[in-house]
């Protein structure tokens, strides 16, 4: 059942590079990562590629296949025609290290900028009690495998390097939403999201949602609800008035 696939793989590093054509054997049931590995084993021993689990759970093998951010280990070869040219490049938003491997430290820096979970001071770990319905909503966001494909596809930084400083990206706006919705978290993260993490730069065009391999509804369930919460805090005079009159502290 095998055939030869036409593969175009980006080879290079910081100083430059190009797409190189290869023809690689494919057998039934294989995924793009298998073919990249075969290429490495048979024709290009110095090809750099990052991977770990081969099960869509570690997020290491994120790349761009025919121009779309994908996990190489979860992209089946039988989704392409046998004579179709398949282009594989590294993620194009982060600095390249070599071939398909990029330097994703931008994401770790952004992760560190989000203040950690802030439980009530009088509760020791182990004493946390909360209702399932209260945590349920943010549990969706815990499915994230940190492949950073949402960060990679987001045009705010993909097309505008200069926005990287001001914008944390969908993965970390979602982290802020997760904590803001957490029943025990004490920090008000709304103004912080807008002023320090660039929530207002997102124009809700949903590419992050489109590429997420965990099918997390990042835009609908994290970013838009967060934008609405920011409106409560910053832009809605009626909510402000209501709060001042009733002096309601928390809902």
């Amino acid at each position: 059942m095998g055939y030869l696939a036409k593969l175009r793989v980006w080879r290079g590093d910081k100083s430059g590079g190009q797409l190189v054509d290869h023809s690689v054997e494919v057998s039934e049931g294989e995924v793009v990562l298998d073919i990249i590995h075969r290429l490495q084993a048979t024709q290009a021993p110095d090809l750099a590629v990052r991977w770990n689990c081969k099960a869509g759970k570690c997020g290491s093998c994120a790349a761009e296949i025919n121009g779309r951010p994908r996990l190489m280990c979860m992209t089946r070869m039988n989704t392409f025609a046998e004579d179709e040219e398949i282009t594989v490049t590294p993620m194009r938003t982060f600095p390249v290290i070599k071939d398909l491997v990029t330097d994703v430290s931008f994401n770790y820096e952004k992760a560190r900028e989000v203040p950690a979970f802030d439980p009530p001071k009088d509760l020791a770990p182990g004493e946390y009690r909360m209702a399932q319905v209260d945590v349920q909503r943010s549990q969706e966001f815990r499915k994230c495998i940190e492949c950073f494909m949402c960060q990679n596809v987001c045009h705010v930084i993909r097309d505008h390097e200069d926005n990287k400083e001001a914008f944390s990206g969908p993965r970390f706006l979602m982290r802020i939403a997760e904590l803001d919705m957490h029943p025990l978290d004490q920090t008000d993260r709304k103004n912080m999201a807008q002023e320090e993490h660039g929530l207002g730069m997102c124009n809700i065009t949903k590419c992050c949602t489109e590429v997420c391999p965990e099918h997390i509804k990042i835009t609908d369930n994290a970013i838009i609800p967060m934008k609405e919460r920011v409106v409560d805090n910053k832009y809605d005079p009626l909510v402000w008035l209501g709060r001042t009159i009733t002096r309601r502290k928390s809902d």
């Binding site: 025919n66 194009r92 209260d134 045009h155 957490h182 730069m201 065009t205 609908d220 838009i224």
Partner: protein
């Protein structure tokens, strides 16, 4: 080097690839369809709003002209709100009200996505470079104004009530007697239903009914409402299109009847 890599993904240290994108699928179809449909709607709606005729024929009123608030409105077309605007307003009465549905849709999270992508190409498709040199999203004037969406949502609810009343009034016949039903009744009922689905699936609605809470467990009723709205919200895009077509077709139907092009068929 720098000249061929001017688009954003050509920033220093990134993989040097001169193509703005390497997508091989037809990613441009969706934005193209959006432009065609929205431009057609805008042309049709503008023409109808200025036409100032054929918007009422007992018992049917076009959604573009309801509520009809000026004294110049044709006899019988003003429903429960009467004609508070008076006689000084002499151009089309549709122009008094269209700002509300227009503002509602312009600031809708879903339409924003659609027109940012298809008209403004920001981005034209996922992983397709946008043509703009700089970008500040919704942080500055005028786009920061999108944050007033919730006010348009509440205004939209008022309109839904009025258009539902219009649909109920359509259970009359052309002589004003109750207990009749025509194709026009169904058209106005369908239009009102689609508008309710669109409004109730709105993100601001989802936020207002319960999304803003931190502790659902303390508000079981609101949690229930939030769950229901969330279910609708997943289909918000669909309702946005269906209700847009619904409004245009309802207007076209009323216009056709009012101008005498077709007769409104009565079931009973």
């Amino acid at each position: 080097m720098a000249t061929s890599l001017e688009h954003g993904t050509g920033a220093p240290a990134r993989a040097s690839i001169k193509e703005k994108h390497l997508r091989t699928d037809r990613w441009w179809i969706q934005p193209l369809i959006s432009v065609v449909v929205l431009v057609s709607f805008i042309i049709y709606a503008t023409w109808r709003a200025f036409e100032n005729a054929y918007y009422y024929t007992e018992p049917l009123i076009s959604p573009f002209y309801s509520p009809c608030l000026a004294q110049s409105c044709v006899d019988g077309s003003s429903s429960i709100l009467g004609q508070p605007i008076g006689a000084w307003w002499t151009i089309s009465p549709a122009l008094l009200i269209l700002i509300f549905p227009l503002g509602f849709r312009m600031t809708c999270y879903y339409y924003r996505k659609t027109y940012y992508r298809s008209f403004w190409m920001s981005p034209p498709g996922c992983a397709v470079s946008e043509p703009h040199k700089s970008y500040s999203g919704e942080t500055k004037f005028p786009l920061i104004g999108q944050n007033i969406h919730r006010y348009f949502f509440f205004a939209g609810l008022v309109f839904n009530v009025l258009l539902t009343i219009d649909a109920i009034l359509a259970f009359k016949n052309a002589d004003g007697q109750w207990g009749h039903m025509s194709v026009g009744t169904l058209v106005l009922l369908a239009n009102a239903t689609f508008l309710w689905m669109y409004s109730l699936s709105c993100h601001s609605c989802r936020h207002a009914v319960g999304g803003r809470l931190k502790h659902f467990s303390k508000h079981p009723f609101r949690y229930k409402m939030w769950t229901g709205v969330s279910r609708l919200n997943a289909h918000h895009a669909k309702f946005a299109w269906v209700s847009l077509f619904g409004v245009a077709l309802a207007d076209l139907y009323v216009r056709s009847v009012a101008s005498g092009a077709i007769t409104n068929l009565y079931f009973f």
